[in-house]
C-alpha cells in the first residue's frame, strides 16, 4: 500500500473537523483558540500535501506564512484575553455576552 494524497487529506479534513468541533462545543475561549490553531494546522497540512503532490512549492510558502500569521494572531489574541481578564472577566463564551440582539 502506498500513502497517497487522499490519506493526508483525510487526516487534514478530520483534524479540521475536530478543531471545528472544539470551536463549536468548548466554552473556554482559550481552548477555543487552541482549537482554531488546530484548524489552521489542519489547513496547513492540506496545503503541504497538495504542494507535495502537485509539485509546487507555493503551497509550502503559504503554509509557512500561515504558521507565522497564526503566531502573530495568537500574540494579539492572548494579549486581548489578558486585557479581558484584567477587567475581572473570565474568558468564556457566556461571560462575554454583554452585547446582544
Amino acid at each position: 500500500m502506498t500513502v497517497g494524497l487522499n490519506h493526508y487529506l483525510a487526516v487534514s479534513g478530520l483534524l479540521f473537523c475536530i478543531g471545528l468541533a472544539g470551536v463549536l462545543f468548548r466554552r473556554n475561549l482559550l481552548v477555543v483558540y487552541m482549537c482554531i490553531e488546530m484548524m489552521l494546522a489542519a489547513a496547513s497540512l492540506a496545503l503541504v500535501a497538495f504542494s507535495r503532490f502537485r509539485g509546487d512549492l507555493d503551497g509550502q510558502v503559504l503554509a509557512l506564512l500561515v504558521i507565522s500569521v497564526a503566531a502573530a494572531e495568537v500574540a494579539v489574541g492572548l494579549a486581548l484575553i489578558v486585557a479581558v481578564c484584567r477587567r475581572g472577566l473570565k474568558p468564556t463564551a457566556d461571560e462575554l455576552a454583554g452585547m446582544k440582539l
Binding site: 471545528l20 470551536v23 463549536l24 462545543f25 466554552r27 475561549l29 477555543v32 463564551a93 457566556d94 462575554l96 455576552a97 454583554g98 452585547m99 446582544k100 440582539l101
Partner: protein, 633 residues
Amino acid sequence: MPAIEQLVWGILLLPLISAAGITLFGLRRPRLAGVLSVGAAAGVAVLSLLVFTGTPFGEWWECSAEWLSVGELNVPVALRFDPLSLTMGLIVAWVSFVIHVYSLGYMRGDRGFGRYFAGLSLFLFSMLLIVLAGNLLVLFIGWELVGVSSYLLIGFWYQRPAAADASKKAFLLNRLGDFGFLVGLLLVWSKTGTVDISELECKLALDPGLLGSLATAAGLLIFCGVLGKSAQFPLHVWLPDAMEGPTPVSALIHAATMVAAGVYLLCRVFFLLALPGSAALELIAWVGAFTALLAAVIATQQDDIKRILAYSTLSQLGYMVMAVGASSVSQPPVAAMYHLSTHACFKALLFLGAGSVICAVHHEQNIWRMGALGKKMPVTFVTFLIAALALAGVPPLSGFFSKESILASVLESNVAARHALFAVAVAVAALTGFYMTRLVAVTFFGPERTQIAGQARESGMILTIPLLILAVPSAFAGFWGIDSAYASQFKGAAVEHAGVFGRIAAAFTHSPVATLWGLGAAIVGIVTGLAVYWNAATDRLPEKLGLVAGWARNRFYFDELYAALNEATHEFLSRLADGVDRWVISGIMVRGVHGSIELAGRLLRLTQTGNIQIHAVLLGAGIAILLLIVLRH
C-alpha cells in the same frame, strides 16, 4: 334672423351673469342682488317673448357655439328653437319673472337675500338651458345644474335640520335619476354616434331600427332622469320634503318649472320613445298613472298647506307623464304639454297664494290652524280659488281644457289597457277635486281655529300683484291656442280650432265621453269635499276611512321603506367596504405585512445572542448550508 340669434344668447347669459354678479358682489348687498336678479328675469322674459314672436309659427331653427369636441364626441352648446322649446321657454321665463318679483317681497329682510337671488338666477339659467338645449348632453348639463340650484334653494334655510336634510334628499334622488339618464345617453351615443337632438331625430327617422333591441332600454333609461326630476314613483319622495324651501322656490321650481322638465324631456325625445318596437311608453304611462293616484290619495290626508300642494303637484305630474305614455306617433303628447303649461300657471299661483297665506299667519303651515281667511285676504282668496278650481278641472278655467285633453288622449290611446288607465285618470280627477275643496274649505272658510288666523291680514302689493298676474293665464289659458303651438311641433297632429268659443266647444266635441267623465269626476270630488269639510273643525275623514287614511297620512311609509332599503343595500355595502378597508386592507394587508416583517426581525435577531459560541455555531451552520446549496447546483 341674425338679430334674434344675438338675442338668444342673452336669454342664457343674463341669468348667468346675474348669478355670478350676485355671488361676487351682491351677497351682502340685498338691493343690488334684487335688481340684478329681477332685471335678468325681466330681460329673459322680454327676450323670450321677442324670440317667440320673431320665430314664424311652426318653424324651428338652431344656433350653436363650440364647447367640447374630442374625437367622436362633439358637444357644441346648441340651442334649438322650435314650437316646443319656444312655448316652454316663454312659460318658464314669465312664470319665473313673476315669481322673482314676488320673491322680492317674500324674502325681504332675510339674511340670505343675496344668496337666494343668486340661486334663483342660477336656476333660471339652468332651466332655460334644459328648455333650449339642442343637444342631449347640454340638456343633461342643464338637468344637473337645475338639481344643484334646487339643492341650494331647498337648503336655503340650512340652519333648519329639516331643510338641510330635504335638500340632500332631493339632490340624491335626482342624482339617482340622472344616473339612468346618463347611461341612457351613453347607450344612445354609442348606437347612433350622436347626442344632437336634430341629428338623432334624423338618423332615427331614416333608420328606426338603429337602436335595435336597445330601444326600450334607452327610452327607459332616459325616463329614469324624468323619474328623478319630475318626482315620479318610485323617486317621488323628495318633492314633498322639498317644501322646506322658501315658498316662492316651491312655486317656481317644485311646481311650475323644474319638475315639469321631466315631462318636457319626454316630449323632447318623444321620437325616441315612440320608436317601433319600443315598449317604453306603456310603462311610462303606468308609472305616471300610479304616481298620480298615489299622490292624490296621500294629498287628501295632508295637513300642511304646502305639502298638499306638493302632492297635488306630484299627482298632476303623474297625469302628464301618463299622458305622454299614452301617446303615440299618430297621437303625439300634445295634451301633456298643454297640461304642463296650464299647470305651471295655476300651480305657481296656488303656491304663491299659499305663501301669501303663510306670511299672513306668521309662518304657520297647518291648515287646521287657519280658517276663515277668505274674508280677511280677499285677493289671495280669489286668486287661490281660481287656481284651485282650475286644478280641479272646472270649466272654463284653463285646467279644465288641459285635463280634458289628457283624458281624451288616454281614452283614445293605443295602449292595451287604456280603459284601466282612463279609470285611474278619472279617479285622480275626482280626488283632485276632493282635496282641493278640502284645502280651500278649511283654509278660507269655516271658523277661525286659532288666534293667529284671526289676526291675519292681506299681504302687501308686491305679493298680491304677482298673484293677480298669474291668475289671468290660470283662468284663461285654455282660450289661447297653446296646444296648437305644441301641436305644430309634432307635425300632422295640429288641430285648428277657430276662435275662443270654438275652443271651448272643442273640449266637448272632440271627445265628449272623456270630457263628461272628467267633469263628472270633478263635481263628485268637489261635492264630497264640501260635504265633509264645510265648516269642519277637525278632519273627520280618518275615522271613517281608518287604515287607508293612516297610510295616506304617513305617505304609505315610502320614506321608511326607502330608508330600510337603503340601509340594507347601499349603506350595507358601504359598511362592508369600510370593514374590508379597516380590517382586511389596512389591517391584515398593511398592518399585517408590517407586523409580520417586524416580527420576523425580532425573531431573527434572537440569533444574535451575543454568545461567541452561538456565533461560531451559526457561522458553522451558515457555511454548511451555503455549501449544501451551492454544491447542489
